[in-house]
C-alpha cells in the first residue's frame, strides 16, 4: 500500500534559517500520526510541505504517492486545516459549506450538515463571530466533508480551551472511525496526541528525532538504572538516548536495537510515551556533537 507520507532528505530553508533538515520518513496508511516537537521545531513547515502550501528547498516529498497539491485530484485527496483554523470572517457558516460544496467534487453534504448541527453551529452566523472551538469545528467539517484520504491538522487545538480541545479531538476520532481516513496532526503538547495517535514523529531542531508506530516505539525503549559505573561502557546493542547521574546511581534511557535487551538485563523497565519523547527532545536540545556522550548530561545532585 502506498505510504500516506514519504519524504526523502527533505529540507526547507527560509532565507538563512533552516526550518527543516534532511527529513526522511515513510508513514504507512491508516494511521493517526502525531507530529510532536517544541515550538519552532519545523512541524508547521513539514505539514505545509505535505499540503503543498510551500515547496521544498531540497529533497522530495510525496503524499499518497503524488507531489502535494500537484492537481485538483490530488487536492481532493488531502484535507488540510492550517494553524489557527482560518475561515472567512465575512462569510457565514452556511456560506462556508456552500464554498466546500462548490469547490470540491467529492463533497459530502449530508456529512457536513450533520456535523454542523451536531456541534451546534448556526448556519446563518458569520464565521468571524465564532469562538475558537466553533471555528476549529467548522474547519474540521470543511476538511472532512470533501472526503479526503488523508487529513492534516496543524496545531488544531493549540488555541482552544481544555473543553473545546476535548470536543475537537472527540470529533476528530469520530471522523477517523467513520471515514477510514489517515490523519496527520501536530502539537507541541504530547498530552493532546497521546490519546489519539498510533504513530508518532518527534521533530526537534529541524530534524526528525524519532518516528514509528507507538507500540513498536514503546516496546523498544527502556530505562536502565544501576550503580554508577556499572553501565560504563553501556551494554552492546543499545543506543543511549539520555543519561543522568547522581553521585551513586546512573539512569539511562536507551533504545534497544537488537530486541534482546530484556533477556540480557531483566531490570530494564519500559517507559511511558512522555518519558520517551522527553528523552529525545532533551537530546536534541543539547549542543551539537555531544548527543551520545554521557558526561555533558551529568546532573549533580
Amino acid at each position: 500500500m502506498t505510504p500516506v507520507l514519504r519524504t526523502d532528505a527533505l529540507g526547507k530553508r527560509y532565507g538563512r534559517r533552516q526550518a527543516l533538515t534532511d527529513v526522511t520518513l515513510s508513514v504507512p496508511a491508516g494511521r493517526v500520526v502525531g507530529l510532536v516537537g517544541p515550538n519552532g521545531a519545523g512541524k508547521s513547515t513539514l505539514l505545509n510541505l505535505a499540503s503543498g502550501m510551500i515547496a521544498p528547498t531540497t529533497g522530495t516529498i510525496e503524499v499518497l504517492g503524488s507531489r502535494p497539491a500537484a492537481n485538483p485530484a490530488q487536492l481532493a485527496r488531502v484535507g488540510f486545516v492550517a494553524q489557527d483554523t482560518p475561515v472567512y470572517p465575512g462569510l457565514s457558516v452556511g456560506d462556508h459549506l456552500r464554498l466546500g460544496a462548490r469547490l470540491n467534487p467529492g463533497w459530502d453534504d449530508g456529512l457536513a450538515q450533520q456535523r454542523v448541527s451536531q456541534v451546534g453551529l448556526d448556519p446563518t452566523q458569520k464565521a468571524g463571530r465564532l469562538s475558537g472551538g466553533q471555528r476549529a469545528q467548522l474547519a474540521l467539517t470543511l476538511a472532512a466533508a470533501k472526503r479526503p484520504q488523508l487529513m492534516i491538522f496543524d496545531e488544531p487545538v493549540a488555541a482552544l480551551d481544555p473543553l473545546a480541545r476535548r470536543a475537537f479531538l472527540q470529533s476528530l476520532m469520530e471522523f477517523v472511525a467513520e471515514l477510514e481516513v489517515s490523519v496527520l496532526l501536530s502539537s507541541h503538547l504530547l498530552g493532546d496526541l497521546e490519546r489519539v495517535c498510533d504513530h508518532l514523529i518527534v521533530l526537534a531542531a529541524s530534524r526528525t528525532q524519532l518516528a514509528g508506530d507507538v507500540e513498536d516505539l514503546l516496546a523498544a525503549h527502556y530505562r536502565l538504572v544501576a550503580a554508577r559505573g556499572d553501565l560504563d561502557p553501556p551494554p552492546p546493542g543499545i543506543e543511549v538516548i539520555q543519561a543522568t547521574h547522581t553521585a551513586r546511581q546512573t539512569t539511562l534511557i536507551v533504545r534497544d536495537t537488537t530486541g534482546t535487551l530484556p533477556d540480557r538485563l531483566p531490570a530494564a523497565e519500559h517507559l511511558d510515551l512522555e518519558e520517551m519523547v522527553l528523552a529525545y527532545l532533551g537530546r536534541a536540545a543539547e549542543p551539537a556533537g555531544t548527543a551520545n556522550a554521557v558526561q555533558p548530561l551529568e546532573v549533580s545532585r
Binding site: Y14, N48, S51, G52, M53, I54, A55, A69, N71, P72, A73, L75, A76, V78, G79, F80, A82, D84, P86, V87, Y88, P89, G90, L91, D95, R98, L99, G100, R102, L103, N104, P105, G106, A139, L142, A143, K146
Partner: protein, 327 residues
C-alpha cells in the same frame, strides 16, 4: 469558483453599481445640457464661434475637467480597493490556506478572481469613459482639444487600459506586500506617478513629433510676451486638433532671426485685435513641434497597448508566482 468570487465581491460590486448609477445620471444630464447649449450658441445662423466658446468655457470647463479627473481616478480606486486586497486580504487573514486546500488549482482560483474583478473594473471605467466622451463631444468638437494631456486620458478607450493595469498592478502589489493597507497605498502612489510620467515623459515620444516653422497668426497664438532682454515669445500656440508640444516658442522675423522688441513696436498701439492683425502682416514665424490631429486614435491605441502590455507582464509574474506557494 465563480460563486465564491461573487460572494466575496458582491458588496463592492453593489457599491460600484450605486456609484456608477449616480455618475451616469449626472453625465447624461450634463450631456443633454451641453447639447442644448450647442444648438443655441453654435448651430444657429450668424452665431459667433468665439462667443460660443466663451459661454461653453465658463459653463462647462470645470464640470468636464472634474469628471475627467474622476474617470482617470476611478481605475486607481478600483486598483486600490479591488485589486490590492484581492490577494493581500487572503494572506493577511490566512484564508488562502483554507481556499488553496479545496479541490481547485491555485491557477484556476487566481484566474477566476483576477478575471472577474478585472472585468468589473473595465466595465465600470468603460461605462464612465463612454458616458463622458458622449457628454463632452460637442464641447470637444468646439474646442478641438481632445489631444490635450488633460483630456486625452479621460476619453474613448484609454481609460480601459488604465483599469486593466490598475487591477492587475494592485493584485501584484498585494502579492508582494501581503498586507492590504500598505498595498493599497503603494498602488495608488504608483498609479498616480505613472499617470504623471506617461503624459510628460513617454506619450510625447510615442511617435516622432512633427517639427516645422509656421507663420505666426492672430488665430494660432493667444498673444506675445516681451522679456527684459527684448526677446519676443509667443504665448500659447494652438494647432487645430493637434497636441502642441512646444509651450511658447520664440518669435522669429520673416528672415528667420529672433524677432526684436522694435519690430513688434513698429505696429502702433491700438485696441488688441487691430494690434494683432498688424503684427500678423509683418510675416513673423515660429518653430513648432506637435503631434498632428490625425494621430489621435493611433495614440489612443498606443496608450491602451502600453498599459495592457504592462498589465500582461505583471499578470504573468503573478501566475508564475502563485502556484509556487508562499515561502
Amino acid at each position: 469558483m465563480i460563486w465564491l468570487t461573487w460572494r466575496q465581491f458582491r458588496g463592492q460590486a453593489l457599491v460600484a453599481v450605486a456609484v456608477l448609477a449616480a455618475l451616469a445620471t449626472y453625465l447624461v444630464v450634463l450631456g443633454l445640457r451641453i447639447r442644448t447649449a450647442y444648438e443655441v450658441n453654435v448651430d444657429c445662423a450668424g452665431c459667433s464661434v468665439e462667443a460660443a466658446k466663451d459661454v461653453f468655457e465658463s459653463a462647462y470647463f470645470t464640470p468636464l475637467l472634474l469628471t475627467g479627473f474622476l474617470v482617470v481616478l476611478v481605475p486607481g480606486i478600483v486598483g486600490a480597493f479591488w485589486g490590492a486586497p484581492l490577494l493581500a486580504r487572503e494572506f493577511e487573514t490566512g484564508t488562502h490556506r483554507l481556499v488553496w486546500n479545496q479541490s481547485v488549482s491555485r491557477t484556476r482560483w487566481l484566474a477566476v478572481k483576477l478575471g472577474l474583478v478585472t472585468l468589473a473594473g473595465v466595465i465600470l471605467t468603460g461605462a464612465l469613459s463612454l458616458l463622458l466622451t458622449w457628454a463632452a463631444s460637442p464641447y470637444d468638437k468646439l474646442f478641438d482639444g481632445r489631444f490635450d494631456p488633460l483630456l486625452f486620458p479621460t476619453r474613448n478607450i484609454a481609460p480601459l487600459g488604465y483599469a486593466v493595469f490598475a487591477v492587475v498592478a494592485g493584485v501584484t502589489v498585494g502579492l508582494l506586500v501581503r498586507r492590504t493597507v500598505p498595498a493599497m497605498a503603494i498602488l495608488l502612489a504608483g498609479f498616480v506617478l505613472l499617470q504623471i510620467l506617461m503624459p510628460t515623459l513617454v506619450r510625447p515620444h510615442l511617435q516622432p513629433a512633427v517639427t516645422e516653422r509656421v507663420a505666426w497668426t492672430a488665430a494660432n497664438a493667444k498673444g506675445l510676451l516681451i522679456n527684459g532682454a527684448g526677446e519676443v515669445w509667443t504665448e500659447e500656440v494652438a494647432v487645430p486638433g493637434a497636441w502642441v508640444l512646444t509651450s511658447g516658442p520664440q518669435m522669429l522675423d520673416a528672415a528667420g532671426n529672433p524677432a526684436s522688441q522694435e519690430q513688434i513696436e513698429s505696429c502702433p498701439r491700438a485696441e488688441p485685435s487691430a494690434h494683432m492683425a498688424c503684427i500678423e502682416t509683418k510675416g513673423f514665424q515660429m518653430t513648432l513641434s506637435y503631434q498632428p490631429a490625425d494621430r489621435y486614435w493611433t495614440f489612443q491605441w498606443l496608450e491602451v497597448g502600453i498599459y495592457l502590455l504592462l498589465a500582461g507582464l505583471l499578470a504573468g509574474f503573478v501566475f508564475w508566482r502563485i502556484p509556487r506557494g508562499l515561502n
